[in-house]
Symmetry: C2
Subunit: 477 residues, 2 copies
């Protein structure tokens, strides 16, 4: 059965190369350097690693303009679900429905298309367990801010016993950006969290100062996020105490913050912030706490969602009961938005959760095609199996190179795997050596390596990566 699943990548990409090709002795290579310089005249290229050639990228391999072909375990910051130039997605992208959605982009709230019902229903087929409604946005920050709006409106509606009427005082004060119409309410998030870079999302983000500096913020709180010891099975008591310490901190903030905490927002694995995992116990205890304290519970699955942890949605590992109130998504689904189940999250009146486009049908079409491929090819199950294999190989390497593979984590979380080095410098060194050895891999936080391959990454790719990593690690000394 495992063998059969392995053929999915072959089916999509019969011409995928057998191994990486690195033809330059530096990355970026000379052509990348000169083209990035030219691009720098019109775009900020300071964060650019190389100039990609998407036409020649295929499956799990990303090409650059110098002719290098890297096995890609970063996948556009965790945003490519099925590999490059996937034939099923090309078919969806070439369909008349797609072309119409691009040239006649509808203002779906006012003039919905006859196709919108099936586009949204497709998104709902892949909703997290317990969620049966969705509202569409355009990217991860947008998904989270739309969810905050839903949470705040719901929180205030409950105060009004769901009466649809506003007081005269609310109607006038809101036009001056003052309470009660514009209430003082907070979203509680966690230290090291990353939820986006707009204004409300920058306020809940707490991973690095550079994301936030000089941007006015809402004075919202960040609670302690558990920092576990690894391996988990040898540190159960310590880690449970760590969960309890953080839960007490959450509860204290909810009870004492200088404005009511209307919502709590958490990534099941803090990704940008260092691949910090939250245990099932922690996530379930937050459900209990939020219910007790009248706080909306929002799970941010922007990076963890869509299969890479070995479940369609990462928080499903925790089997949270009752399910969280809102679950946000973007990245590997290309489309974005939030799932929910309680109809009372639909605002009391129209035009409160609204904008010109109300989502993006072209991206919903892609999301639907991604979901269909994942289901029909059992790609979540494959990812779980490949991840298990990959993790065991990494454990072997960890024994040989413990210094460069600290806190290996992500066991039984598909290919959503990470580890730490001593500091930023050694991490950057390892990532660079990996590139020269044919693998494009990303970092997170200051000193972590994170693996984020697509769902078509299979055992043969894991073998190639392990060889490249072993070689790179041996070159570190």
């Amino acid at each position: 059965m495992y063998r059969e699943k392995m053929s999915v990548c072959q089916k999509y990409y019969p011409n995928e190369p057998k191994e990486p090709v690195v033809v330059t002795d530096k990355v970026p290579g000379p052509k990348s350097v000169s083209e990035l310089k030219k691009l720098g005249e019109v775009f900020d290229v300071r964060p650019s690693y190389f100039m990609a050639d998407y036409e020649n990228s295929i499956g799990n391999y990303i090409a650059d303009v110098d002719g290098n072909l890297f096995l890609d375990l970063y996948a556009q910051i965790s945003s490519i679900a099925l590999g490059y130039n996937n034939p099923a997605l090309i078919k969806a992208a070439s369909s008349p429905e797609m072309i119409r959605s691009l040239v006649d982009r509808p203002a779906s709230g006012n003039f919905p298309s006859a196709e919108l019902h099936s586009q949204i229903s497709k998104l709902l087929e892949y909703a997290p367990v317990g969620q049966d409604k969705v509202w569409s946005g355009v990217n991860g920050s947008d998904a989270n801010e739309l969810a905050f709006k839903a949470a705040f409106m719901y929180y205030k509606a409950k105060e009004r016993n769901f009466s649809a009427d506003f007081t005269e005082d609310e109607l006038t004060s809101v036009m001056e950006n003052k309470p009660p119409g514009a209430p003082k309410l907070a979203v509680l998030s966690f230290k090291r969290a990353f939820h986006g870079r707009l204004f409300a999302t920058a306020s809940v983000t707490c991973s690095k100062p550079i994301h936030k500096l000089d941007i006015p913020a809402f004075h919202w709180p960040h609670a302690e996020f558990p920092a576990y010891k690894y391996p988990l099975d040898k540190n159960e008591k310590y880690n449970r105490n760590e969960d309890i310490r953080c839960l007490e901190n959450v509860e204290k903030i909810i009870k004492t913050w200088h404005m009511p905490v209307a919502a709590l927002l958490i990534e099941p694995i803090q990704s940008e912030g260092g691949d910090n995992h939250a245990s099932a116990f922690f996530l379930q205890s937050l459900r209990t706490l939020t219910l007790e304290n009248n706080v909306v519970y929002i799970i941010d699955e922007v990076q963890t969602g869509v299969g890479a942890t070995g479940k369609m949605w990462c928080h499903e590992h925790a089997n949270i009961k009752p399910p969280p109130d809102l679950v946000t998504f973007s990245k590997k689904f290309q489309s974005a938005g939030y799932y929910f189940h309680d109809p009372e999250f639909i605002p009391s009146k129209p035009y409160r959760q609204f904008n010109t486009w109300c989502g993006d049908p072209s991206r919903m079409i892609i999301a639907g095609a991604i979901g269909d491929e994942i289901t029909s090819n059992k790609l979540v199950e494959q990812c779980a199996a490949v991840g298990k294999f990959l993790f065991s190989k990494l454990e072997e390497l960890q024994e040989m190179y413990p210094q460069y593979m600290q806190n290996l984590r992500g066991k039984n979380r598909g290919t959503f795997i990470a580890w730490d080095l001593d500091d930023e410098e050694t991490r950057t060194q390892l990532l660079y050596k990996l590139k020269l050895n044919g693998c494009n891999v990303g970092g997170c936080a200051e000193r972590s390596v994170r693996l984020r391959p697509s769902l078509t990454f299979d055992k043969k790719h894991a073998d190639i990566f392990i060889s490249a990593l072993e070689k790179s690690l041996s070159q570190m000394e």
Copy 2:
């Protein structure tokens, strides 16, 4: 020459119908009603006017699922530049470059594509006079919030004499969402303004309470926006005094608000808020005021941009010198973002203005195609000419029906035309009669009618609309 321009619509849409077709006696018709009911199970259809059939929409006509075909002067809330199913856009949407941008959406900051330079350069070809740089976003709210970030970072950078270093106090306080790292700074906008519905944009929006209620806001100020008397040429003195009154109010707020005003944001014509025009004198005086008071000047061209006012960008009518600092766009360009000219608006370090996707190449491709068509077919000039013709016809109707056509405005502003009725009820009545007479027209604020046809709307369409309007007005009595 005018005759020659008239053929553009014919060229695009040889099969465009000669006139609207209305086959139902109510709008929405029975099939729309039943399909909207079904869609309502998964989507908020309370704002929906009818269920559109984009496959059968063509040029200036929007079809619905009942077989009605309306002359469209609303154009997806002012977001369709060239009409429905435009062949040049279909070509762009079917290109291999487009398909790649949909199935391999790049994280352009880290892994830019070889095509990104030409995609951005295309956007720059159509930049407002005086602007030669652009940063990409995904919709109007996003464009404005990205511009605010640029403005705040610039404002603080100036305070530091453009040193790239942050103080220890800034680096720690920002992680707690407190000053000085997260500074108390304001964006000044105007009463009746509409700039979007996220958190910072909802704070600057001030058109209707329903857009803002229950959403926590930054305590930012809204200044008086001039309310002119029409026709302009008969009320020059009154209107100049009105400008001066509002400028004094702006200056007072800048000088006395409880936190520094870092940026000023204005629509050259407040669109959602009632098609309230700002004079060239007012817009120029704001430039002077912002320079004197160290305030970043941002023009929001999300609705007014891309040709519909008879210039590519509406604020070009005012010939503001020196040009505004940032100009935001979206809607009819499908792509979104902000234009700027001063390189010091590029943040001191990478990853400060950054996100996973850094814009959307698929939408840049469409924007480039729209720009090319506008230029090669002189559609801005055509829009100016058609607008002049349309306005003169509306003036004639105004003489016959002054009660239903108050404050007719938008003379010499292309087809960006509006007028008022007594109240919301009569406005809604007129819009409904217009639908039954074959024209899809939108309202704005409480009692205004706004015309927002595409740039392929020509004299023959104006004639059809005037007949339908005359008939509708006659039915009001």
